[in-house]
């Protein structure tokens, strides 16, 4: 990856009215920028300041909501700036997280049906599928190669939000290998629940059915948002993903998809997941070698 990283420069601090501090770590997306955001968020949470309401790490920026009646804006800003200075001096950044296998039925009939309803006026190339378009704009020979590239290297959950529980994912590969696909020309009014989508360099999994502008490549086989908290993976919280999670997509067939659906139905489904420590310097030095190491963790369970 490129270095020196803009993420190591000082962040830009600005205010969202009287209740929000916005810290832009970098204008452009990079693993280093996201890592710095997550470190800022974690250290700020650890500082345990009274008056902090929400700490929202995003791809390359941090949003903090605070109660100015309890925590004056200037105190908050100086605390975050202190945390940032410490981070810049601390070269060795690592993150205790987990790697999760997420089964996906690529090129599925659910997203295909919805895509067909939003072609003319919505899509760049209405005559083909979203996958055809994605393969073409990435100069790949066919959709199979695109799908292969999509799942063979893992992704980092760089942000959770938009709507409840929706993860944005950034693939852990060099910038020149990032899959980039423009969003729809105009957003759809419908997207199937659990659609695996893509916009710009980000993948997303739609946690709920609704509007969306990302290209659609498949559906995840198991829930990622469960307000009823009926599955074991949701026992503690209704949202599955957290920023910093590492995701390995696993392609599944229709039969495997149906088998997982049956397990979800009878309440026995569990995601395959293992705790790992993610070290930024290793990921930057040799992304694919380091990814191999991370993915091997999944083989021991």
């Amino acid at each position: 990856m490129t270095s020196p990283s803009p993420a190591l420069q000082e962040a830009r601090y600005t205010w969202g009215g009287d209740e929000f501090l916005f810290v832009e770590v970098a204008e452009g997306m990079s693993l280093a920028a996201n890592f710095k955001v997550m470190s800022l968020a974690k250290n700020l949470a650890d500082a345990g300041l009274d008056g902090i309401v929400d700490i929202c790490p995003a791809n390359a920026s941090l949003l903090v909501r605070f109660d100015p009646d309890v925590l004056p804006p200037s105190s908050l800003e100086s605390t975050v700036r202190d945390i940032e200075r410490e981070l810049i001096h601390d070269g060795e950044l690592s993150l205790g997280t987990r790697i999760i296998e997420v089964p996906v039925w690529y090129d599925d009939p659910f997203t295909a049906e919805v895509a067909q309803r939003f072609r003319e006026g919505f899509h760049q190339e209405p005559e083909g599928t979203d996958l055809d378009y994605a393969a073409k704009v990435n100069n790949l020979k066919d959709t199979a190669e695109f799908i292969q590239r999509h799942h063979e290297q893992p992704w980092l959950v760089s942000m959770v939000g938009f709507v409840a529980g929706l993860p944005f994912l950034f693939q852990l590969v060099d910038q020149d290998k990032q899959l980039q696909v423009p969003k729809y020309l105009s957003p759809r009014t419908d997207t199937p629940k659990l659609t695996v989508g893509h916009g710009g360099c980000f993948a997303a999994i739609y946690s709920v059915r609704g509007a969306g502008g990302y290209q659609m490549f498949g559906v995840a086989a198991a829930p990622i948002y469960d307000p009823a908290q009926s599955l074991a993976d949701f026992k503690d919280f209704m949202v599955f993903f957290r920023p910093g999670d590492i995701v390995k997509f696993k392609p599944v067939s229709e039969a495997e998809y149906n088998a997982i659906q049956a397990q979800v139905e009878d309440g026995s489904y569990r995601y395959r997941q293992v705790p790992v420590t993610f070290e930024l310097s290793k990921a930057l030095a040799d992304p694919e070698g380091y990814n191999q190491q991370l993915m091997e963790a999944l083989n021991v369970i």
Binding site: T14, W15, G16, G17, D18, E19, F20, F22, E24, A26, E27, G28, M29, S30, A41, V53, D54, I55, C56, P57, A58, N59, A60, S61, L62, L63, R65, P68, D69, P73, M159, V160, G161, F162, V163, A164, G165, L166, F168, Q175, P182, K183, G199, G200, C201, F202, S207, V208, G210, Y225, P227, M238, V239, F241, R242, P243
Partner: protein, 335 residues
């Protein structure tokens, strides 16, 4: 006790002061859009400010109470009817078991509130009874009310906050005129410029602050869209991952109350059911004290954005808190 919903109205939901602490996973604060009006409804019926109310949008519900109940309707001006007879708004009404509450046509604004002594008693989800429709959590089964729903009401004073003596009802049964909000066809909304306002050209910023903007019909609990002269973004080579339009940024967290202007055409103010993030640059944020004002704007409302400093925003915040305290005192209600 409970309310039986005969007709749900257009979009009636259970709301309170909202839930915080989960915006980092995309769960918005929700809660009554016009907090001031909802709180004063609670004050009239002896509740605490955090008790849950019914938020009605344009067309209110028809409901029947199965027990005697003290209720109050506040917020946008609307004809309030008990068993078909007109009754005053901003006043406590004593309903008898079997009485029917219904509404005429809204005369301004967008939302009005039904507060009931004891509060709407649905289960709390993540610390709040507010409905978050997209995520299908909170409120009545995570959705807007439907005909046939039986909505539980808490026992008197069940809201957990201190209430007055005896009946729990405050001495005064009507909110004095001076404490009622105005639902005007023209508004000045105070904003703090910032976030990505440096990406606007000087002309663009000038247009935002001097232009006349009108609320479009595309306005709901998530946000309000405005039409007007548009603004100009600076051209630039877009950073990696940011999308191709100059109004695009690498997807970031959205402040509640922030103003984004996709493509430079129609500003959108995000409100209490905001999407928590996305790829459009924000140019400023409505001050916390004016969020209720924005919530009262009906489509067609002419709006001027007035830039203030963060210090001025904090003064306005304090003034609003003092106004609320005075209003509660005027009723003899205890917060």
């Amino acid at each position: 006790m409970s309310f039986e919903i005969k007709n749900p109205g257009l979009a009636t939901t259970v709301q309170d002061q909202g839930r915080t602490g989960h915006y980092n996973v995309g769960i918005p604060q929700s809660g009554s859009m016009d907090q001031y009006s909802a709180e004063l409804g609670n004050a009239l019926v002896g509740n605490g400010p955090g008790d849950a109310v019914l938020e009605c949008t344009y067309l209110g519900p028809v409901l029947v109470t199965d027990a005697d109940a003290a209720v109050a309707v506040t917020g946008a001006p609307v004809e309030v009817k008990v068993n078909g007879e007109t009754r005053p708004q901003w006043t406590r009404l004593q309903l008898k078991a079997g009485d029917e509450l219904s509404f005429g046509t809204i005369q301004g604004g967008t939302r009005y509130y039904i507060a009931v002594q004891g509060g709407i008693d649905v289960p709390e989800v993540l610390g709040s009874r507010s409905t978050y429709l997209l995520g299908a959590i909170g409120g009545f089964q995570g959705r807007k009310l439907a005909a046939g729903d039986v909505v539980p009401v808490g026992g008197a004073g069940a809201g957990g906050a201190a209430v007055g003596q005896g009946s729990g009802l405050p001495e005064v049964d009507t909110v004095p005129e001076e404490f009622r909000p105005v639902f005007a066809k023209e508004q000045s909304v105070r904003i703090v410029l910032g976030l990505y306002d440096h990406r606007l050209t000087d002309a663009g910023r000038e247009s935002l602050l001097t232009g006349e903007w009108k609320v479009t019909p595309v306005a709901d609990r998530m946000g309000l869209r405005y039409s007007g002269p548009g603004v100009e973004w600076k051209e630039r080579e877009q950073p990696f991952g940011a999308g191709s339009d100059p109004s695009n940024i690498v997807d970031a967290g959205y402040a509640v109350g922030s103003i984004q202007i996709p493509g430079g055409t129609q500003p959108i103010i995000l409100h209490r059911d905001a999407v928590s993030g996305g790829g459009y640059a924000m140019v400023g944020t409505v001050i916390s004290a004016d969020m209720d004002l924005v919530a009262r704007a009906a489509p067609g409302t002419t709006t001027h954005f007035v830039a203030v400093s963060q210090d001025e925003a904090l003064v306005a915040r304090k003034e609003l808190a003092e106004l609320k305290t005075k209003a509660w005192e005027a009723l003899g209600a205890r917060r």
